[in-house]
């Protein structure tokens, strides 16, 4: 029986095939013994590398072209080879001088505390190895088709030079989900798993599931059969579901259901067609507040919020005010050493206690509202006073902006329904412009069980009748009072919960973008 390994899924899809090891050793190279010849061989190798990349650039577009353009610009910059040429003049062989110079650059990128710059080390290694291959007369490392590329990390150009027409997958023991290759793999639909840690080096066949980040090494006949079945079902279901992606979600009886998306970062929007959803149901603003980083100022927040609103082009965008605390600490903002952080100072409790932070965010939101259809929602509301104080602060911010002559609007202010106290008595919150049921926290608080704790995870069940009764109650009250109600937890992503939610009378669901097609397909059946 084959062994199972777990990493992080960087690109969805399933593939089973033979292993092709990345980073085979280079051919040996002997120095010519003449500094002058070493110098010109290095310069030739660089020129040949630029020529390779120029050829490759003609075959690709978009993101891939930018990556290659960056590598060409680096190679064409004399500053890259300058340190190597200096030591060659002192008698060092070209390949040694080049490797040392580039390794120095690579170490600089690897030492960065910024994910983005750290990920560029892979581009520099790619540049280094391409020139080395030309120096040793190895030529290009063309890739075969229909294999699982396995290694520590993979160069972007290796990805681009590989012929993927026969399928394939990528498995990396290190790697990152934000690397250039991960972006390329997602765009191309090539399954990819990163951060696998150790892998048995004897593996000849790998079965890769990029969705779950699972890799099966040398599967036996039964396992291969299971994998092939899962792959076939997966492919069939996906192609069926895809037909629904751009359609509106409609039940058999003709009822229209709004499908919105949950997002937590600007870069996610790159991969989503706005036509596939009815807007953004939950934008988690926490992505701007990274632990250890300085708090984002009004301008930074305004620019970010504006991007979401403009992307949606008139469709509603609901941005949730800062919801940190609980399991999302941010140094300098969230309290240290709370005995029970989920019941502590989080969500609106924290922002009302830090009015300076709240004000900055509300001002940025009021400014972004000018650019489209923005709604703002307050998390963790427990008593009506929290909504009233938030609304008053919002009004004050808008007044202040107007006095300063800055363009702004006051968006509708709604609340998350996630604390049982609100779900039990929604009529206390008539001042809310809308209700958005947060089924994850509602379930955790109603069942008094954390889903992060495997020992009690079975209790953390959104289909518990007490949870569904509260959801039904909120939906019903919303209809009576004319307050729009939607649901934005993981519950909406699971087709098995759909009948309950639709029976409750909900007509707006917000889910992870990857779930859109599946959810619409499931709704069409009900």
């Amino acid at each position: 029986m084959g062994t199972s390994h777990h990493g992080m899924g960087a690109s969805d899809g399933m593939f089973l095939g033979p292993v092709r090891w990345l980073g085979q050793p280079m051919a040996e190279r002997q120095s010519t013994g003449s500094a002058e010849r070493e110098r010109s061989e290095l310069q030739d190798a660089i020129a040949q590398s630029v020529a390779d990349l120029a050829t490759l650039m003609e075959r690709v577009e978009g993101e891939a072209q930018d990556i290659l353009g960056f590598q060409v610009a680096m190679l064409e910059d004399e500053a890259l080879a300058a340190p190597a040429l200096t030591v060659i003049d002192g008698g060092t062989p070209a390949h040694v001088a080049w490797t040392d110079a580039l390794d120095g650059e690579i170490a600089g990128y690897e030492a960065s505390d910024d994910d983005y710059f750290r990920a560029r080390a892979a581009d520099l290694r790619d540049i280094r190895d391409r020139v080395l291959r030309h120096l040793s007369g190895d030529g290009a490392a063309a890739g075969s088709t229909g294999a699982v590329l396995l290694g520590e990390d993979i160069a972007p150009t290796t990805f681009l030079e590989t012929d993927w027409s026969g399928g394939g997958a990528i498995v990396l023991t290190r790697g990152s989900t934000t690397s250039h290759v991960a972006m390329l793999a997602r765009a191309r639909g090539i399954p990819m798993v990163v951060g696998l840690g150790e892998l048995p080096d004897h593996a000849a066949i790998l079965a890769v599931d990029g969705g779950s980040g699972t890799v099966l090494a040398d599967p036996d006949a039964t396992q291969r059969n299971d994998f092939a079945n899962a792959l076939a079902v997966n492919a069939r279901t996906r192609s069926l579901e895809e037909q629904f992606r751009l359609a509106s979600a409609t039940r058999r009886d003709g009822t229209r259901i709004d499908i919105l998306i949950n997002v937590a970062g600007v870069e996610e929007l790159d991969h989503i067609d706005p036509a596939s959803c009815d807007g953004i149901g939950l934008m988690r603003s926490e992505f701007l507040f990274r632990d250890g980083a300085p708090l984002p100022d009004e301008e930074t927040q305004y620019r970010a919020y504006r991007r979401f609103v403009e992307w949606a082009g008139g469709k509603p965008v609901t941005i949730r005010t800062l919801d940190i605390g609980g399991d999302k600490p941010v140094r300098g903002l969230t309290p240290d050493g709370e005995a029970n952080p989920f019941l502590g100072l989080r969500g609106v409790r924290l922002t009302l206690a830090r009015e300076d932070v709240y004000r900055t965010q509300l001002r940025a939101l009021a400014r972004a509202a000018v650019h489209g259809n923005l709604k703002v929602m307050v998390p963790m509301v427990t008593v009506p006073d929290e909504l009233a104080r938030s609304a008053a602060l919002f009004d004050a911010c808008v007044d202040e902006l107007r006095q300063q002559g800055i363009a702004c609007e006051r968006p509708p202010l709604g609340i998350m329904v996630e604390v049982p106290a609100v779900a039990v008595m929604p009529q206390l919150f008539d001042a809310a412009a809308f209700f958005s049921i947060g089924s994850n926290d509602l379930t955790q608080y109603v069942t008094a069980s954390s889903r992060d704790d495997a020992r009690v995870a079975a209790l953390n069940d959104p289909s518990h009748p007490a949870v569904t009764a509260l959801i039904t109650k909120v939906a019903q009250y919303g209809r009576e009072a004319g307050i729009p109600v939607s649901l934005c937890g993981d519950m909406a992503s699971e087709p098995k919960h759909l009948p309950t939610l639709l029976d409750a009378g909900l007509t707006a669901l917000s889910v992870a973008p990857s779930r859109i097609a599946r959810l619409k397909a499931a709704i069409a059946e009900l």
Binding site: D66, A73, D77, A79, S112, D114, R120, P296, D297, E299
Partner: protein, 97 residues
């Protein structure tokens, strides 16, 4: 006729001065005859804005200030062009990068 010019601008681009913006910056810089340098502080160290290797090595992040100076016949135009490019988010606003 030689002139000198300087200025500064805050980088508002999402991930700072990364690969694609750096390519744009250096391409723009090479279009000027003047020497054009950038730095992360007003006192330097100053680096050649025409070298992508050096520009990338700065690892300038979002919200950091970029100082710009130039010397040569088109120094003022060069500094203005760089500041304008950074102001425009390297012409990438709205495309999600």
């Amino acid at each position: 006729m030689s002139e000198t010019a300087n200025g500064s601008v805050v980088i508002t681009h999402d991930v700072g001065l990364h690969a694609r913006p750096s390519v744009k910056l250096t391409k723009l810089a090479k279009g000027f005859a003047s020497t054009l340098e950038i730095a992360g502080t007003a006192d330097g160290p100053w680096i050649d804005a025409k070298s992508i290797v050096k520009v990338m090595a700065m690892k300038a992040k979002q919200n950091s200030t970029l100082f710009v100076r130039a010397a040569g016949a088109d120094a003022h135009a060069a500094v203005d062009a760089v500041i304008s490019l950074v102001h425009r988010d390297f012409d990438e606003a709205g495309d999600g990068h």
